[in-house]
Subunit: 315 residues, 4 copies
C-alpha cells in the first residue's frame, strides 16, 4: 500500500507518495520559514491533504531534524524550528485522518537506503550523512535502531578528540567538527592560507569572497591537489571514527550519504585506509564494506513513508 513521506528541512518541506517498492509516484515541495512553527504545521497538513487527495492512502511519515521520542510521536528538540517537547504526532493526527509517525530525518534517510538503496542486501548497516553536519542511522537485524529514548544514532556527536574543537551541541571534539561539510570548508580554508597546493583554493576564495561547498566540489572533480588534500584529511578522520563504530556496532556495511558523498571513491579511499590502520583486533575482526548512498535526494521522504507504512502494518 502506498504511503506519504514528508521531509521538513531548514528552508523547504518536501513530500511524496511512495509505493511499497520505494518508488515515488507523486511529489510536492514548498518553501518554509523555520522560525514559524504553526506555519510549518499548516504547510505539512496542506501537503499531506493534497498528496493523498483521490488516493487510497492510510499513513504518512514526517521526518524532521532533532530528537524524536522512541514512540515516533514527540519532537523533543529541533535545532532550527522552535519545537521543544512538541507533540507533533497528536497535533497532526487531530487534523488528518491518517496514521501519523514522526522520525528523525537522518534515520529516515538511512532506512530508505537500507530498504531500497545501498543497504538492501545486508541486515546490519551504519550510515553517516555528511552534509553541513554529520547525521547517523543504524540498522540492526533488519530494524531501525532508535535507542532507549529515541535519540540514538546521533553519530555526529561521538567524540573523537578529547578537548577538541567546540561543537554546536555544546560538547567538544565531536565527529561533526572533523567529518562534516563545514569541517571540509575549514580544512580547505586552512590549505588556501598556505600557498602551494592551496593556490587554486585561494584564487577562488579571492574571486568569490569565500569558499562554498560547490566550489570545493568543482575543484575536487578537477583533481586540484589542495581541495583533494582537504577531502583526504576529512576521510582520515571519518575512517578513524568508523573504526570505533565497528567496535560498538559492528555493521556489515558503512554507507556515506549527504552532499560530500558525491566525491565517491575519492572520499572512500582515505576512509578505508584510516579505518584499517585504527581497527581494533585487525586481522581477527571481519571487515565491513564502505559504499556511497544510492538515493541521494529522495532518501528522507522515501524513508519517512516506508516507516509510516510499517508502523500502520504493525498496529
Amino acid at each position: 500500500m502506498d504511503a506519504i513521506g514528508i521531509d521538513i528541512g531548514g528552508t523547504k518541506i518536501a513530500g511524496a507518495v511512495v509505493t511499497e517498492l520505494g518508488e515515488i509516484i507523486a511529489e510536492d515541495r514548498v518553501a518554509t520559514d523555520a522560525r514559524d512553527s504553526e506555519a510549518i504545521v499548516d504547510a505539512v497538513v496542506a501537503m499531506i491533504e493534497k498528496l493523498s487527495d483521490g488516493r487510497d492512502i492510510h499513513s504518512a511519515g514526517v521526518a524532521a531534524p532533532g530528537f524524536i521520542d522512541a514512540a515516533q510521536s514527540i519532537v523533543y528538540y529541533t535545532p532550527n524550528i522552535p519545537w521543544r517537547e512538541e507533540p507533533l504526532r497528536d497535533i497532526l493526527a487531530k487534523r488528518l485522518d491518517l496514521d501519523i509517525t514522526i522520525d528523525n530525518d537522518a534515520n529516515a534517510a538511512g532506512w530508505a537506503e537500507f530498504r531500497f538503496g545501498a543497504g538492501r542486501l545486508v541486515s546490519d548497516m551504519t550510515m553517516l550523512t555528511i552534509g553541513t553536519g554529520v547525521g547517523g542511522a543504524i540498522v540492526t537485524r533488519d530494524k531501525l535502531f532508535r535507542g532507549g529514548f529515541g535519540a540514538g544514532a546521533e553519530l555526529g556527536h561521538m567524540r573523537i578528540v578529547p578537548d577538541g574543537l567546540p561543537c554546536g551541541c555544546g560538547a567538544r571534539g565531536c565527529i561533526e567538527q572533523y567529518g562534516s561539510g563545514r569541517a571540509l570548508l575549514r580544512m580547505a580554508n586552512a590549505i588556501a592560507d598556505v600557498g602551494g597546493i592551496g593556490q587554486a583554493l585561494a584564487r577562488v576564495r579571492d574571486q568569490k569572497g569565500s569558499l562554498s561547498g560547490g566550489d570545493l566540489s568543482t575543484l575536487i572533480v578537477d583533481g586540484d591537489p589542495g581541495a583533494c588534500q582537504a577531502l583526504r584529511e576529512l576521510g582520515h578522520w571519518l575512517g578513524q571514527a568508523c573504526a570505533s563504530l565497528s567496535a560498538v556496532l559492528d555493521p556489515q556495511l558503512f554507507v556515506f550519504g549527504g552532499g560530500v558523498a558525491v566525491a565517491g571513491e575519492l572520499l572512500l579511499e582515505p576512509i578505508r585506509e584510516s579505518y584499517l590502520a585504527n581497527l581494533p583486533a585487525r586481522g581477527y575482526h571481519p571487515e565491513p564494506e564502505f559504499v556511497i548512498a544510492e538515493l541521494v535526494n529522495d532518501a528522507g521522504v522515501v524513508g519517512a513513508a516506508d516507516l509510516a507504512r510499517l508502523h500502520l502494518q504493525s498496529t
Copy 2:
C-alpha cells in the same frame, strides 16, 4: 524450563543449572589450562553431562571471551585459548544431546543483568564490565545487540584518545586503556610515584613489591586520598566514554559490572559528573541512570543459560 550455563574463563570453567527465573539450582567449577584447547572442550562436555544428569534439560549455553559469530556458533578468536574460527557449537553438539549456543562472556553477563538484575525494568541498556580489561554489552528493544558479524558491543575498544596508549587489540587510545582495572593500577602507581596523596600507595607498594587490585580496594574503602583519586580519574574517563555512547546508543540505563564496580558510588559519582560535562545537547537529551550490576559473580553462567533457553524456544 531449566538450562545449563557455562562460563569459560582464563583460569577456570564455571557451570550451573539455571531456572527460567535466573535462579541457580546446581553449580560446578574446575581449573583449566587456557593453552590446551582439547582439554577445555573435554572439561566443558564433562561438566554439562554432570550438571544435566538426572535433570530434564534440553539446552546449554557456553560463554567465552572473544569474537563469536552472530549465529552463536563459531569462535572467531579468543585472546587466551588458541581458538581461531573454531566451530565450537558443532564440536560440542556432536558429543552432547542438547541444543548448544556459544556467546561472548560480556554479552552473557549483560544479558543476565538485563533479565534478572539491574536492567530488568528497562528496554535499552548498556553495560560496561570493568575487570582487568573493559567488556561491553548492549540491549536494545529487549534484545541483545550482536552486530552484523557478531563482534559488536566491544565497548572497551571504542577509541577515546587519538594516538593514545597502545592497547592489547593492536590499536591505540581504547577505553580499555583508561577505564579498566589495569588502567586503575597504572594510575595508582603514577600517584604513588609523586609523594603527597600517594604516600599510602607508595608504602603498600614498597611493602608488597607491587600494588594489586585488592590493595587498591582496601585503600579505597579506607578513604585513602591517593587511591580515591585514581578511582576518580578512572571514573572521569568512563563518564566521557558514556557521553559518546549516549550519542550512539542512547540507553535508558548504564550498568557497571566487574571487579572495579564494587567501589559503588565512589565510582559512579565521577562517571556521572564527567558524563554530564561531556554530553552532547545536554539539557535536550533525556538522561540515563547509572547503576552498579547486581549479579556480580554469576552473571556469566546465568546469562549463557538464559540465552540458550531462548534460542531453543525460538527454533
Copy 3:
C-alpha cells in the same frame, strides 16, 4: 669571464651581466604573467639577447622556483608557472648560442652568498631564505649540494611538528609554517587578537583592514612589544630547526636571507638562544655562526650567473 644571470620570480624577471668577482655591470627587469609559460620563455630569451648584445659572453644561468633536476636542465615542477617536466635548458639552448644552466632560485641565492657574501670565508654553509615561504641552500666542501634528484635543500619542508599546521606542499608541520614571513603575519595577528602587547598591531590592522609585512617591519623597528614578540616566536622556531639541521648538515655558518632577515640581530638573537637550548650534544659539538645575508636583492641573478660560468668551465 662575465656571465648572465636571470631570476624568474612570481611577478617579474630580473637579469644581469655579472663578472667573475660577482659585480653587476648591466641589468634589466620586466614584469611577467606567471601563468603564461611561453611568454616567460620569450621574455627570458629577449633579455639574454639584449644583455649579451655586444659583449663577450658564453654562458647564462636561469634561476626559477621549484624542483630542477640535478643536471641543471629540466624543471620538474614550479608552484606558480605551469611547468611540469619542462626541458627548459634545451628550449632555451635551441634559441640562444650560449651554454645554458637552470637552477633553483634559493640555491642560486645561497651560492651567491657563499661566493661573494656572508659565506665567502667558510667551506660549509646552510642558508635559509625567509620570504613568504622558507627556501634553503646547502654548500658543502665548497660545492652546492643538490641531492640525488636535484630536489635537495628544500629546508622549508623539514617537518618540525608532527600533525602540525597544513603546508602548501601537502604535508603538515613544515618549518615553512613556523618560520616564514607568512607565519610571522599569522603570529602577529594572533597577538593582535589578545589585547595587551598586541594593541598597536590591532590598531594598525583596524586602520588598514589587514596587517602587511611592511607594517610589521615598521613596528619591529619601532620596538613595538607585540611585533617584536611575533618575531621572537618566529626566531625560536627557526633556532629549533637549525639545531636539527646541525645534526644533519653540521655547517660552519647559518645565513638568513629574504625579506624578514632585514630585522637583523632582532631575528638572530632568539634563533641563537633556541638553537643552543635544542642542540644535541651541546658542549661537545662545535658551534656555528649565525649571520644575515649580504646580497639581499641581487643574490638570485649573481648566483645564477656564477653557476653558469662554472658549468661552462667544467665542460
Copy 4:
C-alpha cells in the same frame, strides 16, 4: 692496494685487511675495556702491526663512535671511551709507519655500503643504522658528507617531536628515541603491559625478567602480533623522519643497517607507507628506494679501510 680497517666498539675492537674490492683477506678481534683509553690505543697499534706484518700495506683507517673532525684526525668526543679532543691520528701515526685516518663508525659503515653493498649503483645515498641508537651516513655525488666540523650526518639526533622524549644527547624528541633498538624495546614493553596482542611478549618477559633484542627478533620472525606491532610503530616514525630527510638531502636511496634491520621487509613496509604519507610535494618529488644494508657485520672495518686507502691516494 690493500688497506687495514679497525672498528672500535663498546666491548671489542675488530680489524681486517681489506682489498680494493672490499674483500676481507685477514681479520682479528680483541675484547676491550672502554674506560681505559691507553689500553685501547695499545690494542689498536698491536692489531695493526699484526695485520700488516708481511703485507704490503700503507694505510689504516680507524672507526670510532662520536664526533671526529673533518680532517679525519681528532676525536672530539666519544660517548663511552674517555676521549675529549683526542689527537688520535697523531698518537697512532707516531707509533706506526702508515697513513692513518680516523672516521666516525656510522660514516665508515655507510661508506662501505655505498662502495660495495646496497648503495653501489647510486651517487646519493642516506643510511640509517638502527642499533641500540640510530647512526647516520650521507653520501652525495659519490663522496662521504662530513659537514663543516666533521660532525654531520648525526641523523639520529634530528628532532621529530618538539618537547618529545629526553635523549641521551641532552636534547629532546630526537629520532633516536623513536627509531632505535632501544625505542623498539620500550614500545614492546608498553604492548606487553596491555594484554591482548602483548601476551607473548609478557610471557617471555616474565620468564626472562626482561625483554632483549634477541627475544624481539625471535617473536617478530614468528609473526607474533605484539612484537610486529612494535616494529610497525618504529617503522612509522622512521618513515616520517625519512620524509624530512628527503626534503633536506634528497637521496636516491635510503639504506637501513644495524641489528633491527634484519627484520627486512617487515621494517621497510611501514617505513615506505609513512614516508609517502608525509612526503612534501608528493607526486612532484622523485621517490627514492628503501632497502636493507648488505654488509651487516663487516661494514665498519671495510669502510674504514677504504676511506684510509682513498685518503692515501689523494695525498
